[in-house]
C-alpha cells in the first residue's frame, strides 16, 4: 500500500538528550558541591498540530522541561530543534527573533501578569516589540485576540486583579497568541482553576488549536484531562522519561510499572466500580534529584525491581508502533 511508504508527520519540535542541572552551592566560599538533576537527558518529538501531554508527579521536572524547551532557562546540555532551528545555542538577539514562533501559557494566571499593566497593554506588548503596527491596528488586533479567547473588548483598559481566575487565564492565552505562534507550551494552565472553569479553558485551548493549527506541549498532573486533550502522552519520573506513546494505547495498556502505578491512581467516575480497581501503591518517597539512585531511577520504588535494575540504567527504546519506554522487563 502507498500509505505505508508515506513519511510520518513532520516533527515541529525535536528535543534530544535535554539536560538541566541546577548547581548547589554550599559553604563560606560558595563552592559548587553538586547539582539538582531536574531534567537528566530526555528526548522526544512533537509533531505539527498535535498535543503532547507531559505527566508526572510533583517535582519530577515537568515544568522545567517546558521552560527549557522555550529556553527560559539556560540548558546544561542537549539540543532543542524548533521548526528547523536549534534554539539551545542561539544568541540573545536571534533567540528574541525566534520568540514569536513559540510561546507559553503559565500556571498561575495571577502572578504571571504584570499587576501594573492593563489587559490591553499586556496583550499588545509583544506587538510593540516584534511588529510594526499603527496604534489602531494594534487596538484592532488586541480586540480580535480578546474575541478569540472569549473576553469582552471593553475589558481592555482594566487591570488583571479585576478579573476572576478563569478570565485571567484567558488573558494569558490571548497574550500567548498575540504573535501567531506555531508552538505553545501550556505549563499546567488549569491547575490553579476550579473544575468548572478548567473545562472551559481546556475547550478553549482545543478550539484555538483547530482554528490556528497550534501545536501544544501540555504539562499537567491531571491524568484525565491529559487523556481528553493529548494526542500522545509522555510520562516523566525524576527528571527522565519512562514511557511515551499514543494517548489511547498508553492509557489502555501502560507498559512501564511507573505508568501502571500512576494510572491506577486515577479515580473512577462510577462509585460502584471504584472499589473494583486494583490500586498499585508505591512504597517510599521520590528520591532526591540531587542524588538519584544508580541504575534505573525508579528501582527504589518499583514493585518489579531486581538486582539488575540497581546497576544498569534501562535504555529508552521503541517497544511498539511509536511507543517508547525505559524498562529492562518490557518485551
Amino acid at each position: 500500500m502507498l500509505d505505508e511508504n508515506k513519511p510520518r508527520k513532520k516533527p515541529l519540535v525535536q528535543v534530544k538528550n535535554l539536560k538541566m542541572h541546577f548547581p548547589i552551592y554550599r559553604g563560606i566560599l560558595k563552592r559548587q558541591v553538586g547539582a539538582i538533576k531536574a531534567v537528566d537527558g530526555i528526548s522526544f518529538d512533537i509533531f505539527e498540530g498535535e498535543t503532547l501531554g507531559l505527566v508526572g508527579e510533583s517535582g519530577c521536572g515537568k515544568s522545567t522541561v517546558g521552560r527549557c524547551v522555550l529556553r527560559l532557562y539556560e540548558v546544561t546540555d542537549g539540543s532543542i530543534d524548533i521548526n528547523g532551528t536549534d534554539i539551545a545555542t542561539l544568541s540573545g538577539v536571534e533567540l528574541r527573533a525566534k520568540r514569536p514562533e513559540m510561546q507559553m501559557i503559565f500556571q498561575d494566571p495571577q502572578a504571571s501578569l504584570n499587576p501594573r499593566m492593563t489587559v490591553g497593554s499586556i496583550i499588545s506588548e509583544p506587538l510593540d516589540e516584534h511588529m510594526i503596527m499603527t496604534r489602531d491596528e494594534k487596538r484592532e488586533r488586541v480586540g480580535e485576540l480578546m474575541d478569540a479567547v472569549g473576553l469582552a473588548r471593553r475589558f481592555a483598559d482594566r487591570y488583571p486583579h479585576e478579573f476572576s481566575g478563569g478570565q485571567r487565564q484567558r488573558i494569558g492565552i490571548a497574550r500567548a497568541l498575540a504573535l501567531n505562534p506555531k508552538f505553545i507550551v501550556c505549563d499546567e494552565p488549569i491547575a490553579a482553576l476550579d473544575v468548572s472553569i478548567q473545562a472551559q479553558v481546556v475547550n478553549l485551548l482545543e478550539d484555538l488549536q483547530q482554528k490556528f493549527g497550534l501545536t501544544y506541549l501540555f504539562i499537567s498532573h491531571d491524568l484525565s484531562m491529559v487523556r481528553h486533550l493529548a494526542t500522545r502522552v509522555a510520562v516523566m519520573y525524576l527528571g527522565r522519561l519512562v514511557e511515551l506513546g499514543d494517548a489511547e494505547t498508553l492509557y489502555m495498556t501502560p507498559r512501564h510499572p511507573y505508568t501502571q502505578a500512576l494510572l491506577s491512581a486515577v479515580p473512577h467516575p462510577d462509585p460502584a466500580q471504584a472499589g473494583n480497581i486494583e490500586r498499585i501503591i508505591l512504597k517510599g518517597d521520590v528520591p532526591s534529584p540531587a542524588n538519584p539512585p544508580p541504575g534505573c531511577t525508579f528501582s527504589t520504588r518499583c514493585p518489579r525491581a531486581q538486582a539488575k535494575c540497581k546497576q544498569d540504567s534501562p535504555k529508552w527504546r521503541e517497544i511498539g508502533e511509536g511507543h517508547f519506554a525505559a524498562c529492562h522487563f518490557i518485551e
Binding site: 527560559l72 528574541r96 525566534k98 520568540r99 507559553m104 503559565f106 504584570n114 499587576p115 509583544p126
Partner: protein, 342 residues
C-alpha cells in the same frame, strides 16, 4: 480619589491640633528657663519681671490658646497681607508668634533660613536618589557580583558612619590637606551672603555646597539603594517577569519597564516619607558646615529656651510629616492599580 484626599485632609486638622498641644505640654514641662542665659548679676525679682513680660506668668492653657490664635489666625492673615496686600482687621498691631531671643517674628526667621536648607539638604536628597536608584537596580540584577558587594559595603558605611564623622573627614581632606590653590580645595564654611549673579559666583556656590551635599547624599543613598535593591530582588523573581521574557522582550524592557516600574512603588513611598526630613534640615551637618538653615535655627532655639520658636518649628515639621504621609498614600494609589481609595 478626590473624596479620599479631602476626607484625609479633614482628619489632619484634629490630628495636628492634638500634636501642637502635645508639643506645647512637652516644651512647658521642659526644665529650661528663657532667662537662664542672662548674666548672673540680674537679681531674681528682675528675672521674674522678664518672665512676666514674656507671658510666662499666665497658666499653660492660656498660653497655648494665645499661641493658637497667633499661629493659626494672625500669621495666615499676615501672610495674605504681605503677598496680596489684603488687609483684614488690625494689620499693624496684630500679635505674631515672636521669638523670645531675637524679638522678631518666628515665621520671618524660618523664611530667612528656608532657602539654605532647601538648597543644601534638598540637593543632597536629589543627588542621593539619583545615585541610589541605579546602584539598587544593578546590585539586584547582578546579585552577589563584585558591583553588588561593593555597593553593599558602601551602603553599610553610609548607614553606620555618622555624618559628624564623614563631615569632619571631608573637611580634613578637602579643606585642610588639599592645598588652597588646588581646584579640589573646598571651603568648609558655608557663606550665606553669597549671591549667585554670574558664572564664577555660581561655581563658588557649587563648591561651598559640595561637601555638605556629599555627606548627606551618602547617607540618603545608603538607605534608598537598599530599599531599591530589596524591592528589585523581590520583583525579579516574580512570574510576570518570566512572562515578559517569554514575550521576547529586550532585557532592557524587561528590567526597566516591568521590574523597575513595579519596584518603584515601595521606594517612592520611602522617598516621599523622607521629604519632611529635608525641610527639617540635617541638624548636625548644618552645624558642621555652618550652614545657617532650619536645623541650626532649631538648635539655637533649644539652647536659648526660645519656646515660641521651637514650638512653631516643631509644629511645622509635624505638619510636613502628616502631609507627606498623605502624599505617599495617594502616590501609592496612583502607582499601584490594585489599591483603590474609596
Amino acid at each position: 480619589m478626590l473624596n479620599y484626599t479631602l476626607r484625609r485632609l479633614m482628619f489632619t486638622i484634629p490630628t495636628l491640633l492634638l500634636i501642637s498641644f502635645i508639643i506645647f505640654i512637652i516644651l512647658d514641662m521642659a526644665p529650661n528657663d528663657p532667662t537662664g542665659n542672662l548674666p548672673l548679676t540680674i537679681p531674681p525679682e528682675v528675672r521674674e519681671k522678664i518672665r512676666a513680660s514674656l507671658g510666662l506668668d499666665s497658666p499653660m492653657y492660656i498660653r497655648y490658646l494665645l499661641w493658637c490664635q497667633q499661629f493659626f489666625i494672625n500669621e495666615p492673615l499676615n501672610l495674605f497681607n504681605q503677598w496680596f496686600g489684603w488687609c483684614v482687621g488690625d494689620c499693624e498691631g496684630r500679635l505674631r508668634v515672636t521669638s523670645w531671643a531675637t524679638r522678631s517674628p518666628v515665621v520671618d526667621l524660618i523664611a530667612e533660613r528656608m532657602p539654605q536648607t532647601l538648597w543644601v539638604v534638598g540637593m543632597s536628597y536629589v543627588v542621593g536618589i539619583l545615585i541610589a536608584v541605579p546602584i539598587g537596580v544593578i546590585s539586584a540584577y547582578k546579585q552577589y557580583s563584585w558591583f553588588d558587594q561593593i555597593g553593599t559595603l558602601i551602603s553599610m558605611i553610609g548607614f553606620s558612619v555618622p555624618t559628624f564623622f564623614t563631615g569632619v573627614l571631608l573637611i580634613v581632606i578637602f579643606s585642610v590637606w588639599m592645598p588652597n590653590d588646588s581646584v579640589f580645595w573646598l571651603p568648609s564654611i558655608y557663606d550665606t551672603t553669597l549671591k549667585v549673579v554670574d558664572w564664577s559666583s555660581f561655581v563658588q556656590q557649587m563648591r561651598q555646597m559640595a561637601m555638605p551635599v556629599m555627606v548627606l547624599a551618602l547617607f540618603n543613598a545608603a538607605q534608598i539603594s537598599r530599599y531599591m535593591r530589596a524591592s528589585m530582588l523581590d520583583n525579579l523573581s516574580q512570574d510576570y517577569v518570566r512572562t515578559a521574557r517569554a514575550k521576547g522582550l529586550k532585557e532592557k524592557s524587561v528590567l526597566l519597564v516591568h521590574v523597575l516600574r513595579n519596584s518603584m512603588i515601595p521606594v517612592v513611598t520611602v522617598i516621599a516619607l523622607g521629604i519632611p526630613q529635608v525641610f527639617g534640615g540635617a541638624i548636625i551637618t548644618e552645624q558642621i558646615f555652618k550652614v545657617n538653615g532650619l536645623g541650626q535655627l532649631l538648635i539655637i532655639g533649644i539652647q536659648g529656651a526660645d519656646i515660641p520658636l521651637v514650638q512653631t518649628l516643631t509644629f511645622l515639621f509635624a505638619v510636613l510629616i502628616v502631609l507627606f504621609n498623605l502624599v505617599a498614600d495617594i502616590l501609592y494609589g496612583f502607582l499601584d492599580p490594585r489599591i483603590r481609595y474609596e
